[in-house]
């Protein structure tokens, strides 16, 4: 029975595929996008999170940490992240200390997904596996999605595409929809910005273009990073070559910013979201290349 680190299960997801969906977020990602809105999804290990605003200074974490990673001091509670085992003993009733991620079996998650079956049936929705990179756990994904299939629940994954070909192949037979991001058409720029080249991503997209299921290619638009004409025109060319008819552009947002301090990280990106006028200009680049382009 396969299991994977789950950091969130979100019901009534209405923007991650068709219909009303339940999105299962898995931890662990091969890429390090500076704009990542789920920074706790990047590492595959369980991570402590600390919400200073919710902390009432009760000392629960200090008393319960077996390695004394939490220390009460004059300026409040100090936490030495490097000592953390991820044991969750510090998780407090006030919700100030959390641990992101919990290993759960496909069966267990499937039971949660199945609870909304009546809503999927009515809306044509289903389950979306997201992350992080859900295809880092192909056995888990295959088992969970296969189970959902048997219930008649629609299946989708939201992937970076930055995975070995066999991982993708393993889940395609139990998938209805794939959502995949193309961040940079050029591998060097991809590597420079995200920490890994794009060869596996392009390979995944090529493979999916020949696949019989529903494919949705999306490009997050990050001003100053990938919104130049060169990148977008090259992306459009690549999609055309693959025979992919359309693309969705996702304007940059700062939804994840609040999570960074909880991980003792700072949010490095300081760019404004693209204006609606700018988005129109960028959509036109794709339309000029003969693709249908919409904003998501």
């Amino acid at each position: 029975m396969a299991s994977a680190p789950v950091f969130n299960i979100q019901r009534y997801s209405i923007h991650d595929g068709p219909g009303i969906r339940t999105t299962v977020f898995l931890k662990g990602c091969p890429l390090r996008c500076p704009w990542c809105s789920n920074p706790e999804s990047q590492l595959a290990v369980l991570e402590p999170m600390y919400d200073q605003a919710a902390c009432v200074g009760c000392g629960w974490c200090v008393a319960h940490c077996p390695r004394q990673a939490a220390e009460a001091g004059p300026g409040g509670i100090r936490f030495r992240r490097e000592l953390c085992l991820g044991c969750t003993r510090c998780v407090c009733p006030n919700g100030a200390r959390l641990v992101a991620g919990e290993y759960r079996t496909a069966e267990d998650v499937g039971a949660v997904v199945a609870r909304d079956a009546v809503f999927y049936r009515r809306s044509g929705g289903g389950v979306t596996l997201s992350g992080g990179e859900p295809l880092l756990y192909p056995d888990f994904a295959r088992e969970l999605l296969g189970f959902c299939r048997q219930l008649g629940v629609g299946t989708a994954v939201e992937t970076t595409g930055c995975v070995p070909a066999e991982s993708l192949e393993a889940v395609l037979p139990v998938l209805d929809t794939v959502l995949i991001d193309l961040k940079f058409a050029d591998s060097r720029r991809h590597a420079a910005a995200l920490g890994a080249g794009n060869a596996p991503v392009l390979e995944s997209i090529r493979r999916l273009a020949r696949w019989s299921g529903q494919l949705l290619v999306r490009i997050p638009v990050i001003p100053g990073w990938n919104d130049d004409g060169e990148n977008l025109a090259a992306s459009a060319r690549f999609l055309r070559e693959c025979g992919i008819p359309g693309v969705t552009l996702l304007p940059y947002h700062r939804m994840g910013e609040g999570k960074y301090p909880k991980l003792d990280r700072s949010y490095a990106l300081q760019v404004p979201p693209p204006s609606p006028e700018r988005m129109e200009v960028l959509l036109d680049i794709f339309r000029a290349a003969g693709l249908t382009a919409v904003q998501g």
Binding site: R11, C58, N94, R121, R122, S123, G125, H253, M255, P273
Partner: protein, 784 residues
């Protein structure tokens, strides 16, 4: 929207709430003159006198005529029901916190003048004199029940059988009553009372026609002085309409709406009951509407409909300060039901169903209450249009499940055909022509039963022994021990609620027969008996239970923290409650209780208690009978009794602190649903909706979750699933505006469940960084 509607709307919006003494003075005079006569006669004379003497006036833009008082938005006083409160509050009316009312020195003087006459004579006085001590304790001292509404105002909560009115007119109905009276065998003892009812009702038909005639006279008079030829034409045509209806059948849309308004208005002049409702308006008005459309006068039809909708906002009720809290917004709930099935079980949507939603979006005033009855054949475009209206008009219409409504009536002896034709009265109350439901009879506080079970029946806030003595909670060794003590307390609360309702039923029958209203409730004319005395075909008394979510949460928290995890003992829990979770140790206990599973997240660990308590509630009340020969029916509904009861309930085991508000109706306790709307629907849907006579489920959404057509489609799916597949009773949506978002920034703990959409993603608002929160607030403000 035409200028006329804007002008009329401005009159309503800009009018200051005020008090009118006119009705009160006329009624008092009539009662003095009629002393010693049978009550039916007194009522007919008093209401008749009001209809003959109330000032009539016509505003420059009006097309539908008839006002309840001499100014816009002035509240009439009903001294025959309850007036002693005015003696105490009259001087502070204009500066109280909730809904202050302006009151002129003349009005004050007039009201002071009649106060002595009514001492000891009102409906309220009669009821009070009859209540036993245990009802007084339950109601006045300990906040176990609240049944004031029907003793301070009329019963309301019925559907006017408009198809009958429009087809027969009052003369047709009167002719029927003449025949019935003449056919009475006066040697039978019951015939005397029947004859009295018919005489009173027939005299009110006459008075109603006189009232309409006074408006016709005035319209003609004004037409004579009118300079504008167009307005003169309108005035003359209105005069003609008011000469014809409500006496005779309505021949066109103008006559139909004018007739409907007169009947509705006079029901409100007779008594001030809320929730007098219009039923399946998109069906019975359709022929009139279509006729105008075919004549190329669709715009004029819309204008008339909108005039009518604005009119509904003229009914203003004044409450004493305490009741004004429960009835914030002073709702009169003039419900119009659209959609649903026809008598053959086919979709009943008409062109007018859509058109009424347009009018609603145009007019945007609070007292236009539309519900859409949803079933498996409801056209998707109608549902989507309703969702767009929800966005535009802050949550209106509400959505009602056809299936559970039908099953409710089938359970209570209706035919399938009748059940299909059911509508809603008020907010969510099941209605048919012929139902006298006492729809807002009594609220009961379930959570208080938990509190009493934790305190051996003593109410800690008042110190009263408010319930039976149950065992010391420290001795409870299982959930079952606690649950049994809870049932003993709950049963005692319910019995007192039933007692209070039945006593008031008697007082209503003696002091406040609803003669005029009863003519439009099927069965009353046939039986020659008014609604308060059991004349209607269906006689319910409706108990509205408040606090179920907190009750389930309380049980789940105790099961988890005390009996499963064994973190604390029952004695420690009782101590923490006594301390209102103040000490550091008790704060920690509160955090554990708070952490336990909460209703609204589709978690059976807690939802099982909601199901168990609600099943027991229905089992317990259904055997009780009211004096009209009908059963008690149960509902989960609070309006704002959750605030009222909340203030009268101490700390509870769900982690709720003393006097804090409790969950509104069947919605999860504030901020406790963290799993999204499908989970809320699933939790709520576990309760047996086919047995309820109405529930309310409020879902909070930020407008950003409804930004695109795709979002609207998903919400439509959610509504279909909840109401059709899960057979839910009711759902409505609160669209959270920026003011609330700002409040959520300050008090995130109250808004944990608030979902917002930014761009392609949805998130819990309180989890976003302050900057992003501000971003969302700023951006949505731009759209307004």
């Amino acid at each position: 929207m035409r200028q006329r509607i804007q002008n009329l709307k401005a009159e309503i919006v800009n009018a200051q709430l005020s008090v009118s003494a006119q009705r009160a003075v006329i009624v008092t005079q009539a009662y003095r003159e009629a002393e010693g006569l049978p009550i039916e006669t007194v009522r007919a004379r008093a209401v008749g006198k009001v209809l003959r003497e109330l000032p009539v006036w016509i505003s420059p833009d009006e097309l539908i005529l008839g006002h309840p008082t001499e100014y816009w938005r002035a509240a009439p006083i009903f001294p025959e029901m309850h007036i002693s409160w005015l003696a105490e509050e009259i001087e502070s009316l204009d500066r109280r916190e909730y809904h202050p009312f302006a009151i002129s020195p003349e009005t004050k003087q007039a009201l002071y003048g009649i106060l002595p006459y009514w001492q000891g004579k009102t409906l309220c006085d009669a009821a009070y004199a009859r209540y036993p001590q245990e009802v007084i304790v339950a109601r006045e001292k300990s906040g176990l029940i609240s049944s004031e509404q029907n003793e301070r105002g009329g019963v309301g909560n019925f559907l006017i059988e408009y198809p009958l009115v429009l087809r027969e007119g009052l003369w047709g109905m009167k002719a029927d009553m003449v025949r019935r009276r003449d056919a009475l065998d006066m040697t039978l003892p019951e015939s005397v009372e029947k004859a009295r009812f018919y005489e009173a009702a027939m005299s009110l038909c006459d008075s109603a026609v006189v009232f309409a005639g006074r408006y016709a006279d005035l319209a003609e008079e004004l037409a004579g002085k009118e300079a504008s030829p167009a307005r003169r034409e309108e005035l003359l045509s209105m005069a003609e309409v008011c000469r014809r209806v409500p006496a005779q059948p309505a021949r066109n849309l103008h006559e139909a709406l004018q007739s409907m308004w007169f009947i509705y208005l006079i029901c409100h002049i007779e008594t001030n009951g809320t929730s007098v409702s219009f039923g399946r308006i998109d069906r019975y008005l359709l022929p009139y509407y279509q006729e105008m459309v075919q004549a190329g006068r669709e715009e004029d039809a819309v204008e008339l409909l909108e005039c009518f909708m604005v009119k509904l906002n003229e009914i203003v009720r004044i409450y004493d300060e305490k009741s004004a809290v429960i009835n914030a917004g002073l709702p009169s709930f003039p419900n119009m039901t659209i959609g649903g099935l026809d008598e053959h079980g086919k979709d009943a949507t008409t062109a007018l169903s859509y058109r009424l939603l347009d009018c609603l979006m145009d007019v945007r005033l609070p007292q236009i209450h539309i519900v859409l009855k949803v079933h498996r054949l409801t056209p998707r475009p109608l549902l989507l249009k309703a969702i767009r209206s929800v966005k535009a008009v802050q949550g209106m219409p509400a959505f009602i499940g056809n299936s559970s409504l039908e099953k409710f009536f089938l359970t209570h002896g209706a035919t399938l055909r009748e059940a299909r034709e059911s509508a809603i009265t008020g907010c969510v109350i099941p209605g048919l022509y012929g139902v006298w439901s006492r729809g807002s009879a009594v609220y009961v506080n379930i959570l208080k039963a938990v509190e009493l079970a934790m305190n051996r029946g003593v109410d800690p806030l008042s110190g009263e022994q408010a319930g039976p003595v149950t065992p010391d909670p420290a001795e409870f060794s299982s959930m079952e021990d606690l649950y049994q003590a809870f049932l003993v307390q709950f049963d005692s609360i319910l019995r007192r609620a039933v007692t209070a309702c039945n006593i008031l039923d008697g007082a209503l029958a003696d002091k406040m027969p609803h003669i005029f209203a009863s003519m439009f409730v099927r069965g009353c004319i046939q039986r020659g008996r008014d609604g308060t005395r059991g004349g209607a075909n269906y006689n319910f008394t409706r108990i509205m239970a408040a606090g179920l979510p907190n009750t389930a949460d309380s049980f789940a928290a105790i099961e988890k923290v005390v009996f499963q995890d064994k973190r604390i003992t029952m004695a420690q829990l009782a101590g923490a409650l006594r301390d209102n979770f103040q000490s550091p140790e008790n704060q920690r206990i509160r955090a554990w209780l708070d952490e336990a599973p909460k209703y609204g997240n589709d978690n059976d660990f807690v939802d099982k208690y909601a199901v168990r308590v609600s099943d027991w509630f229905f089992d317990a009340i259904e055997p009780f009978r009211n004096p009209r020969g009908g059963p008690f029916i149960g509902a989960f509904q609070t309006l704002l009794a959750n605030l009222y009861f909340g203030r009268r309930t101490g700390p509870t085991p769900d982690g709720r602190v003393s006097m804090d508000t409790m969950a509104d109706t069947l919605s999860p306790a504030h901020g406790k649903d963290r799993t999204g709307p499908t989970a809320v629907c699933a939790s709520c849907g576990k309760i047996d909706h086919n047995r309820t006579s109405g529930t309310i489920l409020n879902l909070k959404l930020n407008e950003t979750v409804l930004a695109t057509q795709g979002d609207e489609a998903r919400l439509a799916d959610l509504i279909y699933t909840y109401l059709v597949d899960l057979e839910g009773t009711h759902v409505q949506f609160n669209i959270i505006d920026n003011q609330k978002l700002r409040d959520a920034q300050k008090h995130p703990e109250k808004y944990r469940d608030l979902i917002v959409r930014v761009s392609g993603y949805s998130a819990y608002f309180t989890e976003l960084s302050p900057q992003v929160q501000q971003d969302i607030i700023d951006r949505s403000e731009l759209r307004f």
